[in-house]
């Protein structure tokens, strides 16, 4: 459970983007080696960085040219020489443009150099797949980075997690891919105000306890999974919803323990099906908790299909509460 639900903690109501903004401000206040680079970051089109230059100066808050590979690399070089950059890649589709620096430099340098490099850097990337931007701006590419050793991967699914994980990420000495799900931006919840509110990587959140099925949900699928769980409750199906929160490292203990309890597994993942996080979770559970599984596990994902533009074609395209609930029912009906 996130600390946000602990009543002893002082909180304030924030949406996802405001929580990210607050995490950055707190970490930049705490540590002057934290810097921020990104396109339009002084004006801040999504509201997480605008006017931070007024507080922290244009030396630490820098608007970049449209050169994601170049400024990702510049961030890596800065990280290797004493700074802790936050790089706003803005939209997740721009990881392809900057892929070489992410994979060849950020993920590999420390290892290749025998541990000489310390690369404390956070790459923020907004996954905009909710709207109607078409195939060039609807990517959810975190599975690619799960197959890239040397990076850590966070997929916060609530404002409090976004704040707590981002703060942890900024203090981490490793390169981190931080994926922000646009379908959650307007979500609000109570978020701890403490500047020491940190959520550790590798610790899943059990968002809802249940006994019949383990439903692992990733990023924007989390609230949809919770909705599905509510629908299913009416039918007497008790669903345990788990949000891994980080995919590298991934909290296998929590997932495996849950599957041991329920004997059934469904994973809801907005990524494309093949080689998705959902695939990885099914594979690992099959390897390590096979005897607990009473019925075939199931993935509910976006199909292996590019994303169309027209709203009419997006009906049921992503995992939504209906598709997730149908998946859970299928698994439960199986026995």
């Amino acid at each position: 459970m996130t600390a946000a639900t602990d009543t002893a903690v002082e909180t304030k109501r924030l949406n996802y983007l405001a929580a990210i903004r607050e995490a950055q401000i707190e970490e930049m206040e705490r540590d002057e080696s934290v810097i921020l680079l990104g396109e339009d970051c002084e004006v801040g089109v999504f509201g997480t960085t605008d006017k931070l230059d007024e507080q922290f100066g244009t030396n630490r808050v820098r608007t970049t040219p449209v050169s994601e590979n170049g400024f990702a690399g510049a961030g890596i070089g800065a990280a290797m020489t004493g700074l802790r950059p936050i790089i706003d890649l803005t939209i997740a589709a721009f990881v392809y443009v900057s892929m070489d620096q992410l994979v060849s430099q950020a993920a590999k340098n420390r290892y290749m150099f025998g541990g000489q490099a310390r690369i404390p850097i956070v790459f923020r990337a907004a996954m905009l797949y909710g709207g109607n931007a078409g195939a060039h701006h609807s990517d959810r590419p975190y599975p690619l980075f799960m197959n890239t050793p040397g990076l850590k991967v966070a997929v916060p699914a609530s404002p409090a997690d976004a704040k707590g994980l981002l703060k942890t990420a900024v203090r981490d000495d490793n390169p981190i891919m931080f994926f922000e799900d646009q379908t959650l931006w307007s979500q609000r919840e109570e978020v701890p105000t403490s500047s020491e509110f940190l959520i550790p990587f590798g610790q899943a959140a059990v968002k809802r306890e249940g006994s019949d099925v383990t439903l692992v949900a990733i990023a924007g699928s989390v609230p949809r999974a919770l909705k599905a769980a509510k629908l299913l409750e009416r039918d007497g199906i008790s669903v345990e919803v788990i949000d891994p929160r980080t995919l590298v490292p991934l909290d296998w203990d929590t997932i495996l323990a849950s599957v041991e309890k329920t004997g059934r597994l469904v994973v809801a993942d907005p990524a494309h099906l093949s080689c998705s996080a959902a695939s990885e979770i099914l594979a690992t559970v099959a390897e390590r908790a096979f005897s607990s599984l009473r019925v075939p596990p199931l993935r509910v994902t976006t199909p292996d299909m590019n994303v169309p533009f027209a709203p009419s074609m997006l009906v049921g395209f992503y995992p939504d509460p209906d598709r997730i609930a149908a998946g859970v029912r299928k698994v439960v009906d199986h026995g």
Partner: protein, 329 residues
């Protein structure tokens, strides 16, 4: 003076772009066009001046701000408007939308929502023309902001090394979202990159279609004759916000700057030239506007009447050999 028909056609196509964009913004606010849209308002002279210098069988690639480019190349507005409205009669069957218009029937090889990413594709079209032994040319539209992308550099060097029939057409509208060209480019004019590729580079008034046409034509003729690639830069301005629907939380440019450019609206500039040169009367000019408006309303009505693509249509067009290969599961 240039051919009268050409001059009039330029005005017509600029009007089409203006009208399509104006109506698109309205339809977007009304919810009839989904998503955010980037319009070319104020940059019509660059779109049309450049494409007027091309033959029907030449190629173009576009950007995220490309409603105007296929129109310049001769694409009918119906299919484009239907595409923006997400209809199955859209030029991309509703799969592309505002950032991914394409009309292969007029040589428009498509927009790219990824800044700079379409430029190497245009180089490939030029390469193809050269290898196939035709005298087609390819023209890549890109923005001042895109000039900072590595893809654009690689494309320019490659085209220069191979002497390809390519025109790098930079619409320098002085801004990349909220970043001034002075803050994202080390040189104020992108044509200054030319010498680094041993390539001619020229900057012209981008708010008048005629100098854009003339500069592009020179580059096209050189390319067609085997003289290799060129940079042509149209100095223009983005009078609207970057995209409708994108929140901007802070002032970043002076109203005076916007006003100055609004005072040099390309449609007014060229319209006045046409009248001054006796090519059209004021009445004929207004008539042209009327025609274009009527054409656009007809396109909108047709799109409204057209079908929304059903969810199953999302599962078509991934592979050329479907349904033989049912890869998507």
């Amino acid at each position: 003076m240039h051919d009268k028909d050409l001059l009039v056609e330029m005005q017509r196509r600029m009007l089409r772009i203006r009208r399509l964009d104006d109506r698109a913004r309205e339809l977007n606010l009304q919810g009839e066009i989904a998503g955010t849209i980037h319009t070319s308002t104020g940059q019509e002279a660059a779109c049309v001046g450049a494409t007027a210098a091309l033959r029907d069988d030449d190629y173009i690639t576009g950007t995220h701000r490309s409603h105007g480019h296929p129109i310049g190349k001769g694409s009918p507005v119906d299919g484009l408007m239907a595409e923006l409205m997400g209809k199955s009669t859209g030029v991309c069957k509703g799969k592309g939308g505002s950032m991914h218009l394409a009309d292969f029937s007029v040589g428009s090889l498509g927009e790219s929502g990824i800044v700079g990413s379409g430029v190497p594709v245009a180089v490939g079209a030029g390469l193809s023309a050269k290898i196939r032994g035709t005298d087609q040319v390819a023209l890549a539209f890109f923005g001042d902001g895109a000039a900072a992308q590595g893809a654009v550099h690689e494309a320019m060097n490659l085209a220069a090394v191979w002497d390809l029939p390519v025109i790098f057409l930079c619409e320098n509208n002085h801004w990349a979202v909220t970043i001034s060209v002075c803050d994202h480019s080390a040189v104020p004019e992108i044509s200054q990159r030319g010498p680094g590729y041993a390539m001619p580079g020229v900057s012209v008034d981008g708010n008048d279609p005629v100098p854009v046409y003339e500069a592009t034509l020179e580059a096209v003729e050189r390319a067609r004759a085997g003289g290799g690639p060129s940079i042509v830069e149209a100095l223009t301005y983005r009078v609207q916000e970057h995209a409708q629907g994108l929140p901007i939380s802070r002032e970043y440019r002076e109203q005076a700057e916007i006003d100055e450019w609004l005072g040099r609206d390309p449609i007014d500039v060229h319209g006045a030239s046409l009248v001054a040169a006796g090519v059209l009367t004021e009445t004929e000019l207004s008539q042209l506007v009327e025609e274009v408006h009527e054409e656009m309303e007809a396109a909108i009505e047709a799109a409204r009447a057209a079908e929304d693509p059903p969810p199953a249509a999302a599962f078509e067009d991934l592979y050329a050999d479907e349904p033989d290969v049912a890869v998507a599961r």
